[in-house]
């Protein structure tokens, strides 16, 4: 089935899968966003325990999606992996540390003898929420703004900034997307709490906090998209593979790929609708609109970054070194093998959905805290 596809078709197929995983990852960042709000939403110890448990049974999905996103990127576009991870060393390392801290915090926080005390683990969760969202946004923004690297004949990376990735923080557009993702994570976190936790006080705090987070998110997001539409982009000349700067490249990509444009607009509507029904109608279903909206928005932005003869990982100092999905990809054979594996993704999604519903049937409430039946963080 897949072996008869052209190399280009497989490269495009895998870029779509990367985009799906990227979209899923940002949606699932509601865990990170929620982690930064534990003290603002939960005023008492019991309230905070409820919030942490609401997140605690979902954090592994986000974590696993991040690991799979990395693995899939490695397998399908190894040149990106070697260039970006090896080059932007510190950006990835800081991100990595933020996730190491998260992985132990839930399990250790309430255990006797945990050495550092519950507050420390809660701080770890906060750090993970802040850095995990912000830095990921910054790195993804560099898919449009570019990074300072060159490639040798043998495809070895030379990163020209001694800051090794931290230089990405000195670009205003990168910062804007980083902050946008941070506030998006918090917005999604609030919507998730609203959906999962049954407690009057918590619900009141959620709505107040939603104003403080959804508005900054929307402003930052609009700022980023406006700038993106107006800037020059890294385009590929399909005849000779040369990279050149094309005015309004990303705007053109949306216009020239109407399906992506429709997805993107639908995404924006869903995101706003989910926030609005929570704010104005006190609905708890907001996450089911803003979540998929987020997924679609990120998905379509990834397609804008990599499709329609666009270099998805541009070099700001040597445009010809920029990575395109053609240049960075694995061989035809490997992509074929991987494509068969990708057929498992719907099955995975199905059992995640099934178990998610089974576990979330009952809302988390104060009663459950004292039932003693479940594993508690």
């Amino acid at each position: 089935m897949f072996e008869s596809l052209s190399h280009l078709a497989l490269q495009q197929y895998w870029w779509i899968i990367i985009s799906v995983l990227g979209g899923a990852l940002v949606f699932l960042m509601f865990v990170q966003g929620g982690q930064t709000l534990i003290y603002q939403v939960g005023k008492s110890k019991d309230e905070r325990t409820m919030l942490i448990n609401a997140l605690g049974r979902k954090w592994e999905f986000t974590f696993t999606t991040l690991v799979t996103f990395g693995g899939a990127f490695f397998a399908s576009f190894p040149l990106f992996y070697s260039t970006s991870f090896g080059g932007a060393y510190w950006a990835w390392m800081v991100l990595l540390f933020a996730f190491i801290l998260q992985a132990v915090s839930y399990e250790f926080r309430s255990r006797p003898g945990n050495v550092f005390g519950a507050r420390t683990y809660e701080t770890f969760l906060f750090i993970n929420g802040l850095i995990g969202t912000f830095l990921l946004g910054v790195v993804v923004a560099s898919f449009f703004t570019g990074s300072p690297f060159t490639l040798t004949d043998l495809n070895e990376t030379r990163w020209e900034s001694p800051l090794r990735g931290l230089e990405l923080l000195f670009n205003l557009h990168n910062l804007i997307l980083g902050l946008a993702v941070f506030f998006l994570g918090r917005t999604l976190g609030l919507l998730y709490f609203k959906n999962t936790v049954e407690d009057e006080k918590i619900e009141n705090n959620i709505r107040k906090q939603l104003w403080y987070n959804a508005l900054p998110f929307l402003i930052l997001f609009v700022a980023f998209i406006t700038w993106l539409m107006f800037r020059d982009g890294y385009a590929i000349n399909p005849d000779n593979g040369e990279i050149f700067m094309e005015p309004y490249k990303y705007f053109r990509n949306l216009i020239e790929m109407p399906l992506v444009l429709i997805l993107f607009l639908a995404a924006v509507i869903l995101v706003i609708y989910g926030i609005a029904i929570t704010l104005f109608r006190n609905s708890s279903a907001g996450i089911w609109f803003t979540g998929p909206g987020t997924f679609l928005a990120v998905f379509s932005l990834f397609l804008v970054a990599g499709f329609n003869n666009t270099a998805f990982y541009p070099s700001s100092i040597d445009p010809q070194s920029s990575l395109t999905i053609m240049k960075a990809s694995s061989s035809h054979f490997t992509l074929t093998v991987m494509s068969y594996v990708s057929l498992m993704i719907p099955i995975v999604a199905a059992y995640i959905w099934f178990t998610w519903r089974a576990i979330n049937k009952k809302k988390i409430s104060k009663d459950e805290l004292s039932s003693g039946e479940s594993h508690f963080y």
Binding site: F63, G70, G71, F74, A75, Y81, G86, E107, F108, I352
Partner: protein
């Protein structure tokens, strides 16, 4: 030319990876084994309806959860480090190495993380049978994730199913099943996973022994010991069996590793096995030359055993370190000097290709060079030794010296191997004795033996780490056998950055380790939930 290599950077990068991998491996084997032990216990609960089984299951599950978290936290570091610290490697073999990592994520990690949530939070939310299924799926998910990363590791030890593509300057996969089902991959997976089963069994026996010593939770302890010693006993046999088949395969694919494991300098027929030995330390891998000899202060040998282990025939010749470096015509062994020259030729052909392609990618000259890389003779005689070319030097004397540098740390490999084997035998004995005594109901009054059970726990961890030292230190200087030396795989970065992350990792790991150990011990001391709350368990 070796003087162009920044060995400080290489060593810090290696150190960081070793630190992470070894720390990760403290937690993984227990996860691999304990998950099945728990699943079996829960099956007993569902079958018999005896609430005591549920208490037992939940107790071990709690310990499992504490251990699992750190395994996850450290696993992601390894994945990232392939890119951050080994970026040349990531490109050179990403076409093969990336796929198992991605499959691992899609196939195994989601299975594990989804059903672990049901396992921990589902007791009162899903049916008994669904819960039991979730526990089994968690165990299977853990094993599946081990398969893929071990396939990737096995490929580095024995790179099959691939070819070198000069166009992209990397290795590309041509046969997935060769990679997946190579002898190395199968041995490695079965050997590694059963080592996890053995370690977990010892953990369960050790903790249960402590309860028996303290005269607490007698039923829990005895039931757990029965299950763990049976599981451990069966796993031990498989572990030893695959250890044996690994040796037979290593002698073909990584003869230098085998020679280092036994500190065998001179090859011989009817080669004896050093069952136990102490090296004087005067000879080491840094000063190997044509006159080097093994220098045991003391050793116990089993005659002809090494030949038999490696080939199943005592008359066979086992190559020593010096045979492999200097060559041995009689045995058809090519010298490293020759391999270096041949690999260098392949590298030069690649560079020449890149040079002519710059002017005209389609020129006849470029086509001729590309055709070379498709020529079976050139592949067999030159490309196969691609990595050796990195040790080339125009000065023949230097080249000769470089060949003697391509030796793994001998004493470390030797000791790690022997510690692993001796402890493996001891564990087998322990399982047999514990099973016998617990069945006769004689165990609880053998206090010294129970203490021995407790103190075997750290030994299990030592044996497990030693196994990886044999595998990874023993294959140096290669990161991919014969194709890429470790020194060529690293990311070009200032050594200060790697030193800084090394220190950050060390501090983080020490902190996490102390917290984990204290929580674990505390949780064991607290023990399972009280029986009075049985309705609430």
């Amino acid at each position: 030319m070796l003087e162009n290599i920044d060995f400080t950077l290489v060593n810090w990068s290696r150190g960081q990876f070793a630190l992470t991998a070894m720390f990760h491996w403290i937690f993984v084997p227990l996860t691999l084994g304990l998950s099945y032990i728990m699943a079996y216990m829960e099956t007993m609960y569902v079958k018999t309806g005896d609430p005591e089984w549920k208490r037992i299951t939940k107790f071990w599950m709690k310990l499992f959860g504490i251990n699992f978290a750190i395994g996850v936290a450290t696993g992601i570091i390894l994945e990232f480090e392939f890119g951050t610290n080994w970026s040349n490697y990531s490109w050179f073999v990403g076409d093969i190495f990336g796929a198992p990592l991605a499959i691992e994520g899609i196939m195994a990690f989601f299975l594990e993380s989804t059903f672990i949530a049901v396992m921990f939070f589902g007791w009162d939310k899903v049916s008994k049978r669904f819960h039991l299924t979730a526990t089994w799926l968690t165990a299977i998910g853990a094993s599946l994730s081990a398969i893929w990363i071990l396939v990737a590791n096995a490929w580095m030890q024995n790179p099959v199913g691939t070819f070198f593509n000069p166009e992209t300057a990397r290795n590309e996969m041509i046969n997935f099943w060769d990679v997946f089902l190579s002898e190395t991959a199968v041995n490695k997976f079965v050997h590694t996973i059963t080592s996890g089963f053995v370690l977990a069994s010892i953990f369960v026996i050790g903790v249960s022994s402590w309860f028996l010593i303290k005269k607490r939770e007698l039923l829990l302890a005895k039931r757990s010991i029965v299950i763990a010693s049976v599981f451990g006993l069966i796993s031990s046999f498989v572990l030893i069996g695959t250890g044996d088949s690994s040796a037979k395969e290593i002698v073909k694919t990584q003869p230098m590793k085998l020679a280092a494991m036994e500190a065998l300098y001179e090859g011989q027929t009817n080669a004896p096995l050093v069952a136990f030995g102490i090296l004087s330390g005067k000879e080491n891998h840094k000063n190997v030359d044509a006159d080097s000899q093994a220098d045991f202060l003391f050793k116990i040998e089993i005659p002809s055993m090494l030949s038999w282990l490696a080939y199943g025939d005592t008359d066979n010749f086992v190559a020593g370190i010096k045979d492999l470096i200097m060559g041995n015509e009689e045995q058809g062994i090519l010298s490293y000097e020759e391999k270096i020259k041949r690999g260098y030729e392949a590298q030069q052909a690649l560079l020449a290709l890149k040079k002519v392609q710059k002017n005209n990618p389609e020129s006849p000259e470029a086509e001729a060079l590309k055709a070379k890389f498709r020529d079976p003779d050139f592949i067999e005689n030159n490309v196969k030794y691609f990595g050796y070319g990195n040790f080339y030097d125009p000065d023949p004397e230097v080249l000769k010296k470089n060949a003697f540098k391509m030796v793994p740390p001998i004493s470390m490999t030797f000791y790690a191997f022997h510690i692993m084997v001796i402890l493996g035998g001891l564990f087998l004995l322990l399982f047999a004795v514990f099973l016998y005594l617990v069945m006769k109901d004689q165990l609880h009054n053998k206090k010294w033996l129970l203490w021995a059970g407790v103190w075997t726990i750290p030994l299990a961890y030592i044996a497990s780490q030693a196994g990886w030292i044999v595998a990874e230190v023993g294959r140096q200087p290669w990161v991919i056998q014969d194709l890429m030396p470790t020194m060529k795989a690293v990311t070009h970065i200032d050594v200060g950055s790697v030193m800084t992350t090394f220190i950050l990792f060390s501090v983080t790991f020490i902190g996490l380790f102390i917290a984990e150990i204290r929580i674990m011990i505390k949780q064991i001391k607290v023990g399972p939930q009280k029986k009075e709350d049985i309705n609430n368990v």
